[in-house]
Structures are given as structure tokens and as C-alpha cells.
């Protein structure tokens, strides 16, 4: 709880800074763009977070997003498939990819890191192949849909509504059903979970399915948001943002820890950091540096608090380290 309030305070601070760096007339449009971004990133983060709670990890999220977007455009542009049908196909392919990942991790006992690293390469390549390395003319066929999704309801963007809906569903699943409880049990101590009669393999596969399914939703939102698909850039680094958001929000990569609100706040922090860099006219190229450093600092603070250190210990730690070094 202490951690949650901490990162929430950080989020608020970032937002105030953004407002300070932005012209007052631009507040509205900036807010709107921000919520769109948070919507897309938040959904992939939610999927990654659910998986991380079980002790799994998925490095293929970004490539799966690109692959799903590619399938969607191939169906809609090249084959004139009705959009609702295309959406269903894309969502199903996402779930199927997750099922395959989960199968490889549980039944074949492969390492999640390795399996999804292969996915990271393979799905990006598959997307390029499907799109023939060209940028499809998708804007026209999906114009109506993209207008709807880019709109707002009660002055909140549709993307954010979607995220909130999925967030509520994910929260109920993770924190109020026995399935969520099993996720935590498996992530904390897989062996004890197995000895308690939990169908560990099933739940681990389910976690991978959810992760890739959410990635597929994020892919559709991305396409509707910018009306474009590009094999080389769509979904780039999304897996890293998703994992970073979950970790910022209090998930432990060792599994068994995490809360959905935290994932939401973590994603928002990442998006706001990026926005702040644009607004404060810091060099765009520095953005990954800022995010990397922010994440590292959070990890250090988190680990220190976990070991029972106080803030005062933390502040004096560098000095102590320096003394030990110079003495040695």
C-alpha cells in the first residue's frame, strides 16, 4: 500500500510538471492524446501483469501486436473481410499464440524467456512477410471505425473507456475470483500450489492466453488510433513498456506479487514521462534513457524498502558505499 501511494504521488507530480510545460490552450488536446496512449499501453501492460503474477514473462508482446495488426490489415485491405469478422479472427489468433506459448512452457518445460524471445523474432518477421514490407492503405476501409474509437464519451476518450472496462474485468478476475488466487499461489510457490491440487499447467497456459489476447486488443486499438500499420514500427518495444509498467506498478518478476491498480499507474507513469519529455522539449532520443533510469531508481527503492530500510538509510547509502570503496 505504501508503495502504491508512493508511485501515485509520483504520477501526480509528473502530471503537474506536464501542465507546467504545456500552453494552457493545448491542455485539452494533450490530455486526449495521453489517454489514447495510456489506453493502448495499459491494456498490454494488464496482460503482461497477469502473466507476471504467475511467475511467467512474455517478451513477444510487441511482435504479437504487430503480427495481429498485420493480419487485420491483410484481411480488411487485401481480402475485404468485414471488419467485425476480422476483429474476431485477430482476437482468436492472439489467444491461440498465447496457448502455444503456454503449452511450450508447461508441457515441454521450456523457459518462458526463451519461448517468447523466439516469438519476438518470429512474429515480427511474419508481420513483415504478410505486409510484404509495404504500408497497406488501411485508412479508408476502417475510417468509420477509427472515427468512433478516436472519439470520446462523456469527454473521456473511447480508448480510456476500453481500458477501464478491461481493468475492471481484470481486477475482478485477479483479486476476487479463485482463479486469480491460484495465479498468485502459482507465482509464489508453484510446487506448493501443485501439492494443493491446483491444476498448475492449466492456469499457467491461461495466463499466457490472456497476455497475448490483451496484446491482440492493443493491436486493434493501435490500428484504429493511427489508421496505419507498419511492419517495422507497429508495436515496437511494447513488450518492454508492458513489463516495465507492471514492474513499476509493484509486480515482482519472481511472481506472486502484483495488483491491477498498480499496473495502471505504472503504465500511466511511463506514458507521462514520455509526454513530459516531448513537452519539456528535451531531446527525443533521451527518452529511453529517462525511462531506463526511472525504472532502475524505482527498483532500487523497492528492493531497499523490501529489506526493511528506511528512507533515511537510502539517502545515506551512496555515502556508505563510497566510504567502503575508498577504504578497500
Amino acid at each position: 500500500m505504501k508503495k502504491l501511494t508512493g508511485i501515485f504521488a509520483f504520477l501526480c507530480l509528473l502530471y503537474v510538471l506536464i501542465l507546467a510545460f504545456t500552453d494552457q490552450e493545448a491542455w485539452g488536446s494533450n490530455n486526449f492524446n495521453l489517454t489514447k496512449r495510456i489506453g493502448i499501453y495499459g491494456i498490454s501492460c494488464l496482460g503482461a501483469g497477469l502473466l507476471i503474477v504467475t511467475g511467467g514473462v512474455d517478451l513477444s508482446i510487441g511482435s504479437v501486436i504487430c503480427f495481429c495488426a498485420a493480419i487485420f490489415s491483410w484481411l480488411v485491405v487485401d481480402h475485404h473481410v468485414p471488419i467485425p469478422a476480422a476483429i474476431v479472427v485477430v482476437l482468436l489468433s492472439g489467444a491461440l499464440i498465447g496457448a502455444v506459448n503456454g503449452f511450450l512452457v508447461t508441457y515441454l518445460g521450456l523457459q518462458a524467456f526463451v519461448v517468447t524471445l523466439c516469438g519476438l523474432f518470429a512474429f515480427r518477421g511474419a508481420a513483415r512477410w504478410i505486409l510484404n514490407d509495404e504500408i497497406p492503405r488501411i485508412a479508408a476501409p476502417i475510417a468509420d471505425w477509427s472515427a468512433f474509437f478516436n472519439g470520446s464519451f462523456l469527454s473521456i476518450s473511447i480508448f480510456l473507456w476500453l481500458l477501464l472496462g478491461l481493468f475492471v474485468a481484470g481486477s475482478i478476475f485477479l483479486h476476487f475470483t479463485i482463479h486469480g488466487r491460484y495465479f498468485f499461489a502459482i507465482g509464489s510457490n508453484e510446487r506448493a500450489a501443485r501439492y494443493s491440487g491446483i491444476n498448475v499447467d492449466f492456469y499457467k497456459i491461461l495466463a499466457y492466453v490472456l497476455c497475448s489476447f490483451f496484446a491482440a486488443i492493443a493491436a486493434l486499438m493501435d490500428v484504429f488510433s493511427i489508421s496505419s500499420v507498419q511492419a517495422s514500427s507497429t508495436g515496437n518495444f511494447m513488450e518492454l513498456y508492458a513489463i516495465a509498467g507492471a514492474v513499476l506498478g509493484g509486480c515482482s518478476l519472481r511472481g506472486g506479487e502484483g495488483i491491477t491498480v498498480g499496473m495502471l499507474i505504472g503504465t500511466a507513469i511511463l506514458c507521462l514521462l514520455r509526454n513530459l519529455i516531448q513537452m519539456a522539449e528535451i531531446k527525443d532520443s533521451l527518452e529511453p534513457v529517462v525511462i531506463g533510469v526511472a525504472l532502475l531508481v524505482c527498483a532500487i527503492i523497492d528492493e531497499s524498502l523490501r529489506r526493511g530500510l528506511s528512507w533515511r538509510d537510502l539517502l545515506s547509502a551512496p555515502q556508505q558505499l563510497w566510504e567502503r570503496w575508498t577504504r578497500g
Binding site: 475470483t177 479463485i178 482463479h179 488466487r181 499461489a185 509464489s188 510457490n189 501439492y195 494443493s196 506472486g256
Partner: protein, 503 residues
């Protein structure tokens, strides 16, 4: 001839246990000295003190009549004392020579420290010759059989100019030919003046290989047998021979006959070359399962519970065959397991008492998959009360509780339902006396309600104290079954150490 190594008055205590009290041990050069004793008699502790793993609280060790202090494994190796663990310590991806000289490779090229492959393999070949090893020294260790790997460990010890070799249960995973092979190597080493401390549960092997046997019991010297006196019966008598204290009194020992037939296990095997295991447990019966470490008791429990895959065998409950492929199947059939290592298999230490108690009963505590927390809390409260779990509250992290209370949480996890067969694997290990008798009372009560109970234990006192019947395992198979009337420590140890069944 003065002894090569002589330890006198060795004391060692761990929190809550006096592992060794005033233990004496002498070994001549070129002698094979076997050290035997029950589980927990202090054999391993003594060996680890000699090898520098532990420091004794009191006592002295002399080598060649000079006092020595062994502060680390490295120092011990320097003195020529090498301990070879039961679990081998080899780098599987290196070859034989690389393992023998790991950390001591001959080098050239000055600071570059390039490995002198030729000298490495020449030296390895010399040592292999001494042991009569014929495998090329470039063979990777993971391609060797367990017996061959053991010889590589011994070769490493020889290369350290070892004069005292300590072998902890060296044959526990060897085949008979490999064991014979090991023995001929040991005999060869003997003629070279190397002393061997040989720890084993397998008394037959001790009879074959040992020049002298030292028996430990409850951390003290219990006796010594010389070459001509070593036989199974004499050894067992020295190993047990303890006064039986007043133990837990069963309330319901007189069994009420029930119509059900209970649990029948037929021809169960989990290893290819294993004789099938067959036994029955009647409803209301507490069956103790004795055996020495590595006899396969835990594996049997895991197989019955579906954690370990069985190769053959049938299990029936009340005449109905059940198919157990995973723990959920066993649980559905009414077989519950209280696992051996509660901290790894029984509990989620970082989670609360409440969540740990409810984890196996969640479907019953939910509606349409939604967890009903108030019911979960009521269950946890009720179970904590019934099992007298001492905890500040049900929200407390289980890792913060004492061992006894942790074990009670594991029991509470299962016993909101009545099992048909409850398997307890070392249920009272590391638990204080009060919690122990509470757990016995619970088993007694469950048996009275008609559950069959299989209690695996290395504590003979406990086995004798509360079992209606005892099954004894030895080397992966059932060595025999003893009824209450025939239950003595001697009878159990006789079977557990590979003695012939007398019935």
C-alpha cells in the same frame, strides 16, 4: 601403531538439538572404518566436523599425533581429508580430467594462465591408473554412469594427496556391479595406506568392506565391533538398544470394525528396475512407515498422491479403482498428503495463514468462481481454533510462525474435509513436544473417524508409539510388515537395513 587420525570428546549442538556428545573416533592408516547409526544419530555431523564443514563446540582432533584445527573444507583438503558427499559435486560439462583438477589445472603462458592440456591429461591418466579406471580422461562427466562419476570424485580426492577419504552413503544410487567395483577400488586404496571412513545404512555392505565399525546412537558412541564380530544382529542391537520412554497414549486404539475395505495398493512402481510394492491400509488404521534415508518412502507417498508418475500399479479405495495422474485426482478420491518439506511443498511462506488454509478448498468457498471472503475467513478462524494454531491472527504471514504452528497450518489446509487416506511424511520433524502430541491426537481422532493413515517417519520412537502396524522400506522396496505384537526397534532396524524378513 599410533592412530592416523584421532578425534576425542567431540561436542556439537544445533539450536534445539545436541547432535554430538563426547564422541570418540580413531582411524589407523590403511583402515576401512564404517560409521553406522539410525537417522539423526549424528553420523553426518561428525563427518562434516572432520571435513571442516562444521566447527565442533568442544573436543580435539589429532592427526599423526599432532593436534589439528580444521576451519574450512579447503584446510581439510590441505591436510588430506576429503569428504565425498552423497550427492556428487561434479561439473557435468567438463571432462574427467577437468573435474579431477578443477581449480588446480596445470597452466602455462604466465599470467594468461592457459591450461596445459597435455599435462592435465597425463596427470589424470596417472591417477586413473592407480584406481584401475579405463575410461579416456576426455570423456565428459555427464556421459558417465553414477558409479563412474563416484570414481571420478574419488580420483579427485586422490589427486589432492588425500590420506583420509570420507564416503557418505556412497552406494545409495549405485547398482550391484558398480558397488562391487567401488569396493575393489577401496581395497586398492587401502593397500596404498589411505584410510577410509565409510558411512552407510546398508549393513550388508558394512559387513563386507569394514575392518572395524563404530556405532553412534543419539549423538554418542554406542559401541564398536572389530572385523570378526561384525554381523547384522550385533550391529542392529548397538544401533537401537534405547530405553523406551512413556509415549503418546492412543485413545481409540481398539478399532471399530467398518464395512469398508480401505485402501489397496497393488504392484506400485515408479522406477523401471523396482520390485512392485503391494500393501493395504484399513479404515481407522494408523500405519507407520519406517525406513532409512533414501529407502523410497517419500517417493512412494509422492506416487500415491500423483506428484510423481507411476510406472505400474493399481490403487483401489473401498474396492473402487482410482486413476491418479495429478494431485487433483488424488484429492478428489480422498487421498491427502502432508508433504515432507512443509516450507517448500506444504506452504506459501510469504502468504497469510488464512490463504494457506483455504488454498485447497477454494471451489467450495466460492460461488460462480467468485471467492466468498467471509466464508474463507470463517473457515480459517475455525480451523485455527480446532488445531490450536498459535498465531497473532489469520492475516499473519505463515513464514513468521514456529515450525509446529506451520505444520498445523498444513494440516488445517486439508482437514476441513475427512480424508479416506491421509499420508503424513515426517509430520513432526523439527517440531516441539507440545505440537507433536497435538498432531498425534489429531491423527488418532481422524483414524477413529474412519480415515486410513499412513505415517512416514524416521523417528522410531514415534513409529513404535502410535502405529497399529508398521511397513518397513529398504532400497526402494517393501522389506516387510510388522504387526503391533511384533513391533520392536530391533525388528524394524533389522528390516530397514536389509536383513531377511523373518516372517
Amino acid at each position: 601403531m599410533p592412530p592416523h587420525l584421532c578425534a576425542t570428546g567431540i561436542d556439537k549442538a544445533f539450536p534445539g538439538v545436541r547432535a554430538l556428545q563426547n564422541v570418540q573416533l580413531e582411524i589407523q592408516s590403511g583402515e576401512v572404518l564404517a560409521v553406522v547409526g539410525e537417522n539423526g544419530a549424528g553420523k553426518s555431523t561428525l563427518m562434516k566436523i572432520l571435513a571442516g564443514v562444521y566447527q565442533p563446540d568442544a573436543g580435539t582432533v589429532e592427526m599423526d599425533q599432532r593436534p589439528i584445527v580444521v576451519r574450512s573444507v579447503k584446510e581439510a583438503e590441505h591436510l588430506g581429508i576429503v569428504l565425498i558427499h552423497q550427492e556428487l559435486n561434479l561439473a557435468g560439462d567438463l571432462d574427467i580430467a577437468g573435474n579431477i583438477f578443477l581449480g588446480r589445472e596445470p597452466t602455462w603462458g604466465g599470467l594468461l594462465k592457459l591450461i596445459d592440456q597435455r599435462r592435465l591429461h597425463d596427470n589424470a591418466a596417472k591417477i586413473a591408473n592407480r584406481l584401475g579406471l579405463t575410461i579416456p580422461s576426455r570423456t565428459l562427466v555427464h556421459q558417465l554412469s553414477l558409479g563412474q562419476q563416484q570414481l571420478v570424485e574419488i580420483a579427485r580426492a586422490i589427486s589432492l594427496q588425500s590420506r583420509l577419504l570420507i564416503l557418505d552413503e556412497p552406494t545409495s544410487s549405485l547398482t550391484e556391479t558398480e558397488t562391487a567395483r567401488l569396493f575393489s577400488v577401496l581395497k586398492e586404496l587401502k593397500t596404498q595406506g589411505i584410510s577410509i571412513l565409510y558411512i552407510s545404512h546398508r549393513l550388508k555392505e558394512v559387513e563386507i568392506i569394514a575392518d572395524r565399525v563404530v556405532v553412534l546412537r543419539d549423538g554418542k558412541n554406542a559401541g564398536e565391533l572389530r572385523r570378526g564380530e561384525i554381523n547384522h544382529r550385533a550391529l542392529v542391537q548397538l544401533m537401537v538398544g534405547r530405553e523406551l520412554k512413556q509415549f503418546f497414549q492412543r485413545q481409540h486404539q481398539a478399532k471399530t470394525p467398518l464395512a469398508r475395505t480401505g485402501i489397496e495398493v497393488k504392484d506400485l512402481r515408479w522406477l523401471p528396475a523396482q520390485p512392485g510394492i503391494t500393501f493395504t491400509i484399513e479404515p481407522g488404521e494408523i500405519v507407520g512407515m519406517a525406513g532409512l534415508m533414501g529407502a523410497g518412502r517419500t517417493e512412494l507417498a509422492q506416487t500415491l498422491f500423483g506428484v510423481r508418475r507411476k510406472l505400474t500399479g493399481a490403487v483401489t479405495i473401498d474396492g473402487k479403482p482410482i486413476a491418479v495422474r495429478k494431485p487433483a485426482d488424488a484429492i478428489a478420491a480422498g487421498i491427502f498428503l502432508i508433504p515432507e518439506d512443509r516450507r517448500i511443498e506444504g506452504l506459501i511462506l510469504t502468504d497469510s495463514v488464512k490463504h494457506n488454509i483455504s488454498i485447497a478448498s477454494l471451489p467450495a468457498l466460492s460461488r460462480f468462481g467468485f471467492l466468498q471472503r467471509s466464508r474463507e475467513e470463517r473457515l480459517a478462524e475455525a480451523m485455527c481454533e480446532r488445531f490450536m494454531v498459535r498465531t497473532p491472527g489469520i492475516g499473519q504471514m505463515v513464514g513468521n510462525l514456529s515450525g509446529g504452528n506451520q505444520q498445523k497450518v498444513v494440516l488445517a489446509k486439508w482437514l476441513s474435509r475427512t480424508p479416506k487416506l491421509l499420508i503424513l511424511d515426517e509430520p513432526t520433524r523439527g517440531i516441539d513436544v507440545g505440537a507433536k502430541s497435538e498432531i498425534y491426537a489429531l491423527m488418532d481422532d481422524l483414524a477413529h473417524q474412519g480415515a486410513g493413515i499412513l505415517m512416514i517417519s524416521s523417528d522410531l520412537e514415534e513409529i513404535l508409539g502410535i502405529s497399529d502396524r508398521v511397513l518397513v522400506m529398504h532400497a526402494g522396496t517393501l522389506a516387510g510388515s510388522l504387526h503391533r505384537a511384533e513391533l520392536t526397534e530391533e525388528a524394524i532396524m533389522h528390516l530397514a537395513t536389509g536383513g531377511e524378513s523373518r516372517t
